[in-house]
Subunit: 345 residues, 2 copies
DNA sequence: TCCTGACACGCAAGCGTTTGCGCAACGCTT
DNA sequence: AAGCGTTGCGCAAACGCTTGCGTGTCAGGA
């Protein structure tokens, strides 16, 4: 007689079937105490027969933990999001954790809600890319002792774990590269204001200028708002200058797409007419003409480290906060104006 | 005196603070029955004061539902994954659902585990991109009455909800387009065998050939395994033919990347020397030279529909299964060998 | 004055687990 | 024959919530 399969088997069902108490069932499932071989076998048989899976919800209620982590991330804003996510999921699941996904839309109030929702689901910890001007939310998380790690957009506080890539030195290197090529007027297209990444990259740009003996001029940095459209607009702005830049540092890949479009529309040849380097590598960087010189973030590593940090904190809440800065790597191709290098494929 | 904030406030805390029973707290939180204005106000004040969020876990235990759906998806295999995911998350959260993410790695046994894990977390429903040769898993889900919708890779069964894009007619159109350009030997690079999408696209290719009065020849389709490397290899295979194809249909975007690389390596000019069309559009399709003629899947719409179907089934398990096929749209650019069209930007 | 309905609320029984105690049975040692 | 450490297991109390019943109060109709 087929069970009224409408509802899943519970420990009690297994217990009855195996002729033991639910206590015993629990213990064989979790291996929490010695159980006679014969009994264990009977229980396992019953489990097999019914397809019993256990109930994570009920277990969580009593243990307190959920073995799940929440990802409050800005899906829109993160171009390399898929890769990041994949790395995070992999690392988490390898440690037996499930990932709850929620989009912050990069807005402070959605972020609030999102975090609330995740917390009410009792996630053991939170991974989050702080929205611009978020401040209070992460402050609250910290003071509530919610295990949290910030990704990508790092904050200046030192009481929270965070991992992101190094922006200043990297952008400086990008800028300096253009300078060594002889450029004196190097422009920059910067990202959404208020984001630490945007600001650090501008800082890096200025640093690179300084190191190359060039002076900074505010008119040479145009904000592209981290978007395609913004990038295109910013390029126009820069080009409209009485004395336009002769080379460009672009703050992220989305803006680069805009730059590429706008350049084509104007018949401007990247690399020849206008050397460009960009922070962020993309899959197609070497497929366009000319191939793009980029700064590639170690995305996978960022994801992995974020999860590691989070799990470490979950297991030891007293642990002191850590900030991890991973260095991106320069992918030297041709959009900077350098001649083709030999591809090592 | 600060609470021992170690553990979150519960309904009981609120009840005490507001001087009511937990029953009342529950009812004001859920709006499940009339509560005097003054009482309600007191409760709300207490909630505000403590930062009470409710406990989804405990609630789930009693209600049975979790207001969450599981996404068992192949992160690696889905190139447009980020977009899909975003659409799904948005639609789900708009309906008050949270998304649990799990990677199937596109392997049948990981898929099994993944689904088990998700189910033990009591997700209300499952979104899944079936791994090649999965069969049994979705069979089990169906017979267990677990609300499920298949995405992208559709099965032939009619007792399960599914949504994906139309492959046959679309690929046929792509192929026919090359034929109208005068090509008689049109090759195809196909995806991982055993995937419905791969097979349908090959079918569409043959259909397009037939409709154009061309006959099919097995040597003209090379399997590129849906990967970059595979695509490059497949191109080599095809080119090594005694009588190589004069134009190419590529089965997905990853393989196209491989094709582009391999073509460049050989100094082959896509479009001029070898016209190519590809199923799947990519962000950079119009940034390469020549811009790619592609078939763009309505990814957002797929995600939305998938969630809608799933929620519909959750709310009415007796509902009869539905299969949704969304038509992709041709993005006619230049890699097919056609002259530049005027961009409408 | 008594009855009735509407309104406001509380009691307590679960939901499916985990886990601290406790008890029985068994073999050994003295 | 009594005492004792082991081994193997069950009882029952949580965990934080929802919800079917009840109970008490108060206003209005008879």
């Amino acid at each position: 007689m087929p069970q009224p399969r409408s509802s899943r088997p519970t420990q009690r069902d297994i217990a009855e079937l195996a002729g033991v108490s639910i206590t015993t069932v629990s213990h064989v499932v979790n291996g929490t105490r010695a159980v006679a071989e014969s009994t264990k076998a009977a229980v396992l048989r019953a489990i097999e027969a019914t397809g019993y899976t256990g109930d994570a919800i009920a277990r969580s209620l009593v243990t307190g933990g959920t073995r799940s982590i929440g990802m409050a991330i800005s899906l829109v804003a993160n171009p390399y999001f898929a890769t990041l996510m994949q790395a995070i999921e992999r690392e988490a699941s390898e440690h037996g954790y499930t990932v709850l996904l929620a989009d912050t839309h990069d807005a402070a109030d959605t972020e609030r809600e999102t975090v609330r929702a995740l917390r009410s689901r009792r996630v053991d910890g939170l991974l989050i890319t702080p929205a611009p001007g978020d401040g209070p939310v992460i402050g609250e998380l910290v003071s509530l002792d919610v295990p949290t790690v910030l990704i990508d957009r790092l904050s200046t506080r030192t009481d929270v774990d965070q991992v992101g890539s190094e922006n200043i030195q990297a952008t400086s290197a990008l800028t300096a590269h253009l300078a060594t090529l002889g450029h004196r007027r190097i422009g920059m297209i910067s990202g959404v204001p208020g984001l630490s990444t945007s600001e650090e990259r501008v800082l890096g740009y200025r640093l690179g200028l300084g190191r190359s003996g060039l002076t900074w001029s505010s008119e040479l940095v145009a904000c592209g708002n981290s978007s395609r459209e913004g990038g295109a607009l910013a390029l126009s702005t820069l080009l409209a200058l009485p004395e336009p830049p002769t080379a460009l540092v672009v703050g992220n890949d989305s803006m680069m797409v805009g730059v590429l479009h706008e350049a084509r529309r104007r018949g401007l040849r990247i690399g020849r007419d206008l050397p460009v380097v960009v922070y962020d590598d993309v899959e197609w960087a070497d497929l366009v003409d000319p191939p793009l010189t980029t700064m590639a973030q170690p995305i996978e590593e960022i994801g992995r480290q974020a999860v590691r940090l989070l799990l470490a904190r979950i297991n030891d809440p007293a642990r002191k906060a850590e900030t991890v800065r991973l260095p991106p790597t320069l992918r030297h191709r041709e959009s900077c104006g350098c001649p083709p290098v030999h591809s090592h494929q």
